[in-house]
Symmetry: C2
Subunit: 410 residues, 2 copies
Amino acid sequence: MEKKNLIVGQSGGPTAVINSSLYGVVSEGLNHPEEIGHVYGMVNGIEGFLNDTILDFQEALPGEKLEYLKNTPGAYLGSCRYKLPESLEDPVYPKLFKKFEEMNIGWFFYIGGNDSMDTVSKLSRYAAQTGSEIRVIGEPKTIDNDLVHTDHTPGFGSAAKYVASTVREIILDANVYEKKSVTIIEIMGRHAGWLTAASALARKYPGDNPLLIYLPETAFDVEDFLARVEKAFEKNCNVVVCVSEGIHDEKGTFICEYDNSVGTDSFGHKMLAGCGKYLENLVRQRFGVKARSVEFNVSQRCSASMLSATDQQEAVTAGVFGVQAALKGETGKMVSFVRKETADGSYHMECGLEDVNDICNAEKTVPMEWICSGGTDVTKDFIRYARPLIRGHVNVPLGEDGLPVFVYRK
Amino acid sequence: MEKKNLIVGQSGGPTAVINSSLYGVVSEGLNHPEEIGHVYGMVNGIEGFLNDTILDFQEALPGEKLEYLKNTPGAYLGSCRYKLPESLEDPVYPKLFKKFEEMNIGWFFYIGGNDSMDTVSKLSRYAAQTGSEIRVIGEPKTIDNDLVHTDHTPGFGSAAKYVASTVREIILDANVYEKKSVTIIEIMGRHAGWLTAASALARKYPGDNPLLIYLPETAFDVEDFLARVEKAFEKNCNVVVCVSEGIHDEKGTFICEYDNSVGTDSFGHKMLAGCGKYLENLVRQRFGVKARSVEFNVSQRCSASMLSATDQQEAVTAGVFGVQAALKGETGKMVSFVRKETADGSYHMECGLEDVNDICNAEKTVPMEWICSGGTDVTKDFIRYARPLIRGHVNVPLGEDGLPVFVYRK
């Protein structure tokens, strides 16, 4: 059997473990020297590949350097947000496949979310159409946990752990004074509330903060929110509220757009504050209490200090499994996670394969039956689902400079 | 010798290690059963003490529970921002000392920053004036690192590590796309730029981000800033800028106040965005590039995931040292840190004692000779000063729920 080369790329937003999946693909690729020649990386995804920005992993990360890749957040290879044309007649396709042929590529891996699976779908369909033997496999990645046909996605567990842990710390911080206060925490998730729901994992006992949790799956009503905050003050001095960035009213207007018309800076340009900032101001005006808002921002997707060992291990496993599947001849598939509950109810995960065409351009939101208390909380079923995904600590080695050791492209 | 009881309180803003100092005081207090009877805690500082909210540590945190206190961020005892009256003739003083007498208090410890040292000063002066034998000792605590007569303060090292580590992660995150971008990171510090300066520790090689670092010690000029960003684009695709929340112009006007006059919400109230948000918008308008801002907010002072082992150990040591000093008869002192450099240039810290009256109401800012590049960077001397303070990882035990084990007041 003639040796072929493997190429792998990353696409979409970074996560804490997108490089763990990359590590899985690369290390397993290097494990099969009889079948796989070079293991290449596309720098800045398919867009970079079109511009011939490529690296060879044996040169870029020789020996133990590859091990550090596992703990490095971000996207080692760089990313892109390039969408391939809908029509497979477009000249970009023969151009791409000519390059694949020149580089003797037999295996193509793409790590990403929805849009990246769209790339996997188009390339595998074009390969089938033209009789190319290239195998195209998608590796799931998104903190949003919004891919269908998989129990969850790599990246979600660590982001959820960041959310749960940081919300708990902020609750502790909020509790130090005996004066009424409201803290609004704004969490990523425009359409799917998985990550915001993870804030429920921060609770230490029933009735603990966060007292209100709002996902974008239900409509947000400002007056109802204020009434609930007022009610919460009857029993609690410090009220912590978690909201998805994408909360919106019944008509679909985002809450962060409410102050659009008037908020302008000194140049007369609109200043878009998040929904957290908006609600902070609203609460302060209505109740005259101390109010603050915290926007979790990019740290929730790139924090190596809050890696979930479960998430990291699963990300590596997905990478390895994808290579093994491709070697068995699979193509046009995304690696999926299938949850197996053992007899004692403990958590166990197995990898599977799903037709990538069923996955791209679909979105999985939090099921309505897991949302309760009038859209202000999540059920025990959600907790049972999410808890195993954040377990385990990753001891990231520290360097001489006192900070975690990461690897970078030169 | 008649046994006396010890009481300890916390005051001001929380830090990641204020409870480590508390642990040091309490554990050392319990180590001296011949001299010290009960070890009490004031709930919500001196204000809570006046309202008789007190706990006994042997009941509240028996056995190994006390160990968990060391890793718990926030302020276990709760805090206050209560300033004792300037005049020692005020009736609150005899009221306080009558309570001390009723509780047979012989040792009083207060963990906090500037304002807390003011409390220590007043109580010790009142004790001297009235012939009370109570010993009053201050334990330093502030992420701002702005106390005088001490090399640094407990809390700064962990906050600096959070800043350095999170800035590094955000740099990685910013580097994934090949499109010009500016990321503004806003860091705590109204008057002293120590914590913002710590962002320089994030650099991995000369010329790495953050490319611009602005402290409140120098005046900020908006046009000069924009010119420097433009220049940075000549060599860099992604520009990361770190700014103190307290940056201000030559006239002393805070940059965050620049958009005050026009930013209002739908109720017509002023919406105060931070200086990071303001600069983000400015950069986007001027250069038409992708711009975002990240406000570090409370996590920089309450993150247990980024504890510096050095900082935590020193906080404990300061607590222990304070108790030992009080037992030797010291009063009206704050525990200080004295840096000793060993022959091989490695870092070594010893505790000292300073007259608390020299400390309260003074503020230590970053020396001008450590600020360079026209007020946009810090020197190697600062790096040499700060680097040892962030070293060492604390392995915070995880609970069944996958999150760090903390202790709470019931």
